[in-house]
Amino acid sequence: MKAIRYLAATLLLALLLAALWPGALTRTPYDRQFRELPNAPVSRQFPLGTDELGRDRLSRLLYGTRVSLLAAPAAALLSTILAALVGGLAGFLGGWFDRAAVALIDLMLSLPWLFLLIIVRAMLPLNVPALVSVLLTFGLIGLLGWPSAARIVRAGCRTLRCSDLVLQARACGLPRGRVLLKHVLPNVRPILTAQFRASIPIYILAEANLGLLGLGVADPLPSWGNLLRPLESGLAPDWAAWAPLILMLVVVSCLYLTQSSKVVVQ
């Protein structure tokens, strides 16, 4: 199992490097339309062929990987910070704040966000460059993703609050803020790290799902979501068109494999 984990990590690192410096593998811009060569087969010039508009699939795949692999951790960071704030304070402070936080978490968890997202998208500004749309999409995902993590953080904090070490610290007269920063936070850090790592693959998938619904990262910037879209239609695409799905499968599997199974459960 350990060997598999190392292998997965190496593969992930290689993919990350390739996504960070796509120029090393392809010189074609991801948005250049070779209109005389639509749906071109695999060739030296286009190692994965071209799409319906004549764009180089390899280049789009690499840049799309970059978008998904960089933005998802950022969104995960955002939601983890939110979860730590809400969950941590709720668990540690208790009382009305805890009750309010739990109510908020429950409320967030029980809303049909998949459907409300199209409404949220309609409220966002129009004239944004593609790059900003990436930030908006993943920002939104991050903003909506914190409640389930917050539940777990809260549970952890609550256990800690009654623990000997915190009781002792408070008995010694340490102010609350200091107890929280010095004693509680370091102890919930493993939970937070686990949450952060577990959210990354989930957010990658969330963007892909949104992309399949036509929302998400704006054209012509590729992301895994909009790269998967051609697969929807009934045309039997050649194997190269499946590359995004395969790559995505590999990357997310690797992400899961590099984590211990406990993290996945949480």
Partner: protein, 296 residues
């Protein structure tokens, strides 16, 4: 005797309080979604707005038809009043009473959920029980890998793959559910089978089959019930999403259409329903097991 009675009454109070909380959450969820829909761009408009045949008067009539929904608080209060009278409201975008829409569409969703839950449980049992009980490290690794793989596909990706293989949507729900269920189930089993008396029995050479029922599954029944509750919740979420994506005429597709058409009454009904299902299944999980409760 008296202790028991006190315990029961304490439990009743707890249950009552939990139910109250659920009702409050559903109530607030409905209001929140009503408010969001009300203030979203496109509310109160209709495709008819772009029909060039319509005269100005007719266009205005279309706009006026949503007047009752413009104040979300007032709409929400009026809506609840009607709900207690047995009327869920009327969907303007689909031109039918919501009660009829739900009755038409719920069976498809239920069907999808039932098959999905059954499939996921069977898969999870097939993969986890032998791996844990017989301690087959290789099977465990393969199971983990498979569950990781299925977890790593987006629901829509699974939909595409299965459709191309000609497989029904029910299996999509099962595959979406399976990885999470598998992980939970394996942990529950591992915990139960790691108890000293089970280990002792194994060490004395007892076969795993008789142990499974009496010493592993039965003591873990509370967790298993919780798991069933959680899987209902997950299945509902998955079914609703897959329907929306795959065009199955169930509640998920209804929600999608309603969101696209800004159909306020339908979205409120669905939000309240989803909130209730989510919260109820969480409650069952909370009540039946202290382990899962620690997470709430």
């Amino acid at each position: 005797m008296s202790l028991d009675a006190a315990g029961t009454s304490a439990r009743t109070t707890r249950l009552g309080r939990a139910l109250l909380r659920i009702a409050a959450t559903a109530l607030a969820g409905g209001l929140l979604s009503a408010t969001m829909v009300r203030f979203s761009p496109g509310f109160g408009l209709d495709e008819k707005q772009l029909d060039a045949r319509l005269s100005r008067e007719s266009q205005e009539a279309v706009l006026r038809s949503h007047d009752q929904e413009r104040n979300p608080l007032r709409f929400y209060a009026a809506w609840w009043k009607r709900v207690f009278a047995g009327d869920l409201g009327f969907s303007q975008s689909l031109n039918r009473p919501i009660r009829e829409l739900l009755a038409d569409r719920a069976p498809a969703t239920l069907d999808l959920m039932l098959w999905g839950i059954a499939g996921a449980w069977v898969l999870a049992i097939v993969f986890s029980v032998p791996a844990v009980m017989r301690r087959l490290a290789r099977l465990a690794a393969v199971s983990s890998l498979f569950s990781g793989m299925t977890a790593s596909l987006p629901a829509a990706g699974i939909a595409i793959l299965l459709f191309r293989m000609g497989i029904s949507a029910k299996w999509m729900v099962a595959l979406v559910l399976f990885p999470r269920l598998y992980q939970y189930l394996r942990n529950v089993l591992q915990q139960a089978s790691g108890r000293p008396h089970v280990l002792l029995a194994r060490a004395k050479g007892l076969r795993w089959q008789p142990l499974l029922w009496r010493h592993v599954l039965l003591p873990a029944r509370a967790q298993l019930i919780a798991l069933v509750a959680v899987s209902i919740n997950m299945a509902f979420g998955a079914a609703v999403a897959i329907e929306a994506i795959c065009d199955i005429p169930g509640l998920g597709q209804l929600a999608w259409k309603a969101a696209a058409a800004r159909d306020l009454p339908v979205l409120v009904v669905l939000t309240v329903m989803i909130a209730l299902v989510t919260q109820m299944s969480n409650l069952v999980a909370d009540l039946s097991t202290p382990i899962l409760r620690s997470q709430s």
